[in-house]
């Protein structure tokens, strides 16, 4: 299987009052195309730090990230921004839609970044919005006028508009209730089934079941990897396998 990301000896440290905190320690991993990769771990284990280091949003202290065959670790901030617009999509826990933009514009603002034709991008944005169950009547509304679950699905549409090589989702259901959270997971699963590669950070076992490959982070290291196979609703055997893996990891 073709990998999208490969890390070599990835380290990340923070200085806190002069004391170095090593959040990631010599992480070597690979993220594969079309996978729905889940990064799990306890709170403070370094999951989000790893996600943002992989995506080029944050810089590692040491080590290398090779993304689609390109080393991104030494790129300048602006080059990283250009890289992200071409290859990455992001779904945040706090959603982070632009309050002053309508639903449609929130999707277009990412889509138009690559100088594509306005009509094409608009058509695509509308199509994706429909796919995430955002009705046309909501397209002109502002983020403060829609629910959290709807906003997060708009966030997913925004992440997908440029057909990124990889979508990074940082606890996308963390700020939602279970019903709306499920809708968001359904949307992500649907896109993954259509071939979209996704890396998702979560500490929720229900969310983790959507992935086919689980990376467990413990004390800044990859403590274990579990291949679950493709998501099948209500597959108890698969659930059992995940539970056992997590149990082994000390979850």
């Amino acid at each position: 299987m073709k990998n999208i990301i490969e890390t070599r000896k990835l380290c990340k440290s923070f200085s806190n009052g002069g004391i170095q905190q090593h959040v990631l320690k010599n992480v070597d991993l690979e993220i594969y195309e079309k996978d729905f990769t889940i990064i799990m771990g306890a709170s403070g284990a370094g999951k989000s730090t790893l996600l943002y280091a992989l995506s080029g949003m944050d810089r590692p202290t040491l080590g290398e990230v090779v993304f689609c065959g390109e080393t991104i670790t030494n790129k300048s901030a602006d080059d990283l921004a250009r890289f992200r617009r071409d290859h990455c999509g992001f779904v945040f826990q706090q959603i982070y839609l632009v309050d002053s933009m309508s639903v449609l514009d929130n999707v277009l603002v990412a889509g138009l970044l690559n100088n594509k034709k306005l009509s094409e991008v608009t058509a695509k944005a509308k199509e994706i919005l429909k796919q995430v169950d955002i009705e046309e009547s909501m397209w002109d509304k502002f983020p403060t006028q829609i629910s959290g679950g709807e906003a997060q699905r708009v966030g997913i549409a925004r992440a997908l508009i440029n057909t990124p090589a990889l979508v990074f989702a940082d606890e996308p259901t963390g700020a939602l209730n279970s019903k709306t959270g499920r809708d968001v997971l359904d949307a992500l699963t649907r896109f993954n089934e259509m071939g979209q590669s996704i890396v998702m950070v979560t500490h929720d076992i229900v969310s983790a079941r959507r992935g086919n490959r689980i990376l467990y982070v413990k004390d800044g290291e990859i403590a274990g990897i579990c291949d679950l196979g493709r998501y099948v609703p209500n597959d108890t055997e698969r659930h059992q396998k995940l539970n056992e893996f997590l149990g082994k990891m000390g979850w």
């Binding site: 921004a81 617009r85 002053s100 933009m101 514009d105 603002v109 608009t122 944005a125 502002f142 403060t144």
Partner: protein
């Protein structure tokens, strides 16, 4: 009090940048106010102080012309009834002498006296600077020749007196109240005793004058008395010329530049007051938004609104107090530059003095103003509910309109997002719109003054008439001189204009221009209402005089000269900045109703072809001298007069334009600093989102800077047009007190456009520079680590 101090300390620490920006605005504001006040309270009264110091009296009059039958005792009775003290002395009077001054020349009357002038009790003449080693044919010049004329001790000083060339060496400079400034029509020169004797011997019959300086008794109506005195003198001998001036007019004519500068500074100050009010209001609004949580928390633990408001009042009060004190200090520091211009007109030694009044007014006014704005802007703190504030005033519903939908935007993404930002930053853009508009207005006015004084000198508003030159001859050569001028191919539009003081009843005096044909006057703009007089029963009077005495066109007005008087019909109103706005115009036939022009010299004004210069004019005079010889009384080369006479106005206009340029640049910089600082803080998360999506810092900087440009451009366009139409009425309003009724300065359209373009480009550069803080916003820190 302690709780307020704690909050104040926190405010200062948290809002260092905002406080620093506002502080600079307050410093500039205070500097302008204190400079204006120093002009009013220190520079302007310095002339009065000098007059007292020199014991200059309440006024002077001097008699010239046929003094053969003049007897000092004739006026003595009249004088002793009305004056407490007076002193007469004899000297020589040479009208309209061309004197090299600055880069050109001026044509004042010269009063020549000997060293006795230094020993008078009244109207003392004080030596400011001298070099006793300079000997021979020497002259003491009025101090203005040093401050504005460019003369140094030891320089040669060449003039023509009574048709003869004289070259003196400058021995020193003296200080005199009555005859020390080009705006006073006369200069007094003190020459060495031998030369004075020689001149007196040669020109006693034609140029001797009697100068009397006096103090009025209390209760004497000065204007009326002087007219009575003038009429008595002229009635006793029609061959006499009578000229007088009272102290207030003399002081005004030497100080109006400091008044104009003071008024201009105050106008700039009002503009800046508006800017400071807008910026302070906006900054406090931003402070409340940015610190909503803190305000909520403070209220939750028991602080009342007034505690929080008091801390802000204390913060900005402190800022105003220190800023205004520093502004006053800078105002004093800038005075050497200002006073250089002021004394070039006043012509007296002047050192800015310490004025507690200036400090007190500036500091109190600025601090009170800032406190008032703060008090008003912080009212909304009262409405902050702790619970809502702790949720950062979260809006659950927002029904804004999407004015720039990206799906329909015809422009590129950056421009579309800029427009979007524009619609969401309306309050900031409103501030930019009005502040830019105010700056455009003052820049256009400064540019207009600069263009009309420095680049394309337009003396139409400063003098009654302009042309190429004036040839003055005695009556014997009246026809010969006219023939000479008419025969020359280069000379055109020959007209006679004589300038003479005539009295309005026994109440006032008007300087009257007696013209042979009003239609030949080049400066047709001076008659701003009605028309020039055509018939012998008509007169045009200055608008300021007419409004003061309630006259309108068509009214009859009684004019008096000696024993003669006549009621003229007012045919038009003219505007003039000279003689306190008291001038008029009539035809030669009209003047003949009061006096016999046969006694007076003839002044021929003429024009030369376009593109001619002072050398061409000088060539006409050289030829005239060859043909008319001693019949020539005086010549005025208007080209050189313009160069010399405009120097002062050029300095003032240059200073104003420079100052406005600096103030505009500073204000634009500060505005963008304050607005963008707040904008970037409020929108830091949004910028984080954009960066996460793949926008580069430069994309966002361009978007941000561009978002201010539509309003900036709109403001520049609208206010350029408004300024184009309002600049002249505004100047009329400003200069009404100086006699200007209808300003017709040319407004350089290309200059206005260029100013607008420069302003927009500068603003864009500043906005781009100030938004470069976006580089420091990291998507990860903004969205994840926070």
């Amino acid at each position: 009090m302690n709780k307020i101090l704690i909050l104040t300390k926190s405010n200062l620490r948290k809002n260092r940048g905002t406080v620093a920006g506002l502080f600079i605005l307050v410093v500039i504001l205070s500097m302008l106010i204190s400079s204006a006040l120093l002009m009013f309270f220190d520079a302007y009264p310095s002339m009065e102080r000098t007059a007292k110091h020199l014991n200059s009296g309440d006024g002077y009059f001097f008699l010239t012309g046929d003094l053969s039958e003049y007897d000092d005792t004739k006026l003595e009775e009249l004088l002793s009834e009305n004056m407490t003290d007076w002193q007469s002395r004899r000297l020589l009077d040479y009208p309209d002498v061309s004197v090299h001054y600055g880069k050109g020349s001026v044509n004042p009357g010269l009063l020549i006296s000997d060293s006795e002038a230094f020993y008078t009790e009244k109207d003392k003449t004080e030596i400011v600077d001298e070099d006793p080693s300079v000997t021979g044919k020497t002259v003491y010049l009025p101090y203005q020749f040093y401050t504005g004329g460019g003369y140094q001790i030891g320089d040669d000083f060449s003039i023509i007196l009574g048709g003869r060339d004289h070259t003196f060496r400058v021995k020193g400079f003296h200080n005199t109240t009555w005859f020390g400034c080009s705006n006073q029509s006369y200069y007094e020169l003190i020459v060495d005793d031998d030369t004075y004797e020689a001149l007196m011997e040669a020109d006693k019959d034609t140029h001797e004058a009697v100068l009397t300086v006096f103090d009025f008794k209390e209760g004497v109506k000065s204007g009326e008395f002087m007219i009575k005195l003038s009429n008595t003198a002229l009635a006793s001998n029609p061959g006499l010329s009578f000229c007088f001036k009272l102290l207030d007019k003399a002081l005004f004519s030497r100080t109006f530049v400091s008044l104009i500068m003071a008024v201009s500074f105050l106008v700039m100050t009002t503009v800046l007051l508006g800017v400071v009010a807008l910026m302070l209001g906006s900054s406090i609004g931003n402070y409340i938004r940015e610190n909503m949580k803190m305000i909520g928390a403070l209220k939750a633990i028991g602080y009342v609104s007034m505690d929080i408001r008091a801390s802000l009042l204390f913060t900005f009060g402190l800022l105003a107090l220190t800023g205004s004190v520093i502004g006053v200090v800078l105002g004093y520091a800038s005075m050497p530059l200002m006073s250089k211009i002021v004394i070039s007109q006043m012509g007296i030694p002047y050192t800015p003095g310490f004025s507690p009044m200036v400090i007190l007014i500036t500091v109190c006014a600025v601090t009170a103003f800032i406190l008032l704005i703060t008090l008003l802007a912080t009212i909304r703190i009262r409405k902050v509910e702790p619970i809502l504030a702790l949720r950062e005033g979260l809006e659950s519903h927002n029904f804004r309109k999407n004015l720039v939908p990206l799906s329909k935007a015809p422009f590129g993404l950056n421009i579309s997002l800029s427009l979007k930002m524009l619609t969401t930053n309306l309050s900031q853009n409103v501030i930019i719109f009005f502040v830019t508009g105010l700056l455009v207005f003052v820049c256009v006015v400064s540019l207009m003054m600069f263009d009309n004084f420095n680049l394309h000198p337009n003396i139409g508003l400063l003098t009654i008439e302009y042309g190429a030159g004036v040839l003055s001859v005695d009556q014997d050569a009246k026809e010969e001189a006219l023939d000479f001028l008419e025969e020359r191919e280069d000379v055109s539009n020959i007209r006679r204009i004589l300038n003479l003081p005539l009295n309005y009843k026994d109440q006032d005096t008007l300087q009257i221009y007696i013209v042979d044909d009003g239609a030949k006057i080049n400066n047709q703009d001076i008659c701003y209402d009605g028309r020039f007089p055509k018939y012998d029963n008509e007169i045009a009077v200055s608008g300021r005089f007419a409004s003061e005495y309630g006259y309108v066109i068509g009214d009859e007005i009684e004019m008096v000269y000696g024993d003669e008087h006549y009621d003229y019909i007012i045919s038009g109103l003219i505007q003039t900045c000279n003689n306190f706005g008291r001038e008029g115009m009539m035809t030669e036939e009209g003047a003949e109703r009061l006096l016999d022009l046969e006694y007076l010299p003839v002044y021929y004004w003429f024009d030369l072809p376009e593109g001619s210069d002072k050398d061409d004019c000088e060539e006409v005079f050289t030829a005239a001298k060859a043909e008319l010889g001693e019949h020539i009384q005086s010549t005025i080369n208007v080209y050189t007069t313009m160069e010399g006479g405009m120097e002062l106005f050029k300095s003032v206009a240059g200073l104003m334009l420079g100052l406005m340029g600096v103030v505009s640049a500073a204000v634009i910089t500060l505005i963008f600093y304050l607005l963008l600082k707040s904008l970037l803080y409020r929108r830091r998360k949004e910028y984080g989102i954009y960066k996460a999506l793949g926008f580069t810092s430069f994309d966002l900087m361009i978007q941000t800077a561009l978002s201010f440009m539509p309003v900036m451009i709109l403001s520049v366009i609208i206010f350029s047009v408004v300024s184009y139409y309002l600049a002249n009425p505004y100047m009329s309003m400003m200069l009404f007190a100086f006699g200007l009724m209808k300003s017709t300065f040319t407004i350089p359209i290309s200059g206005v456009i260029l100013t607008g373009v420069i302003m927009v480009l500068f603003a864009f550069m500043m906005a781009l520079l100030m938004s470069s803080r976006i580089r420091k916003i990291e998507a990860y820190r903004m969205l994840v680590a926070e």
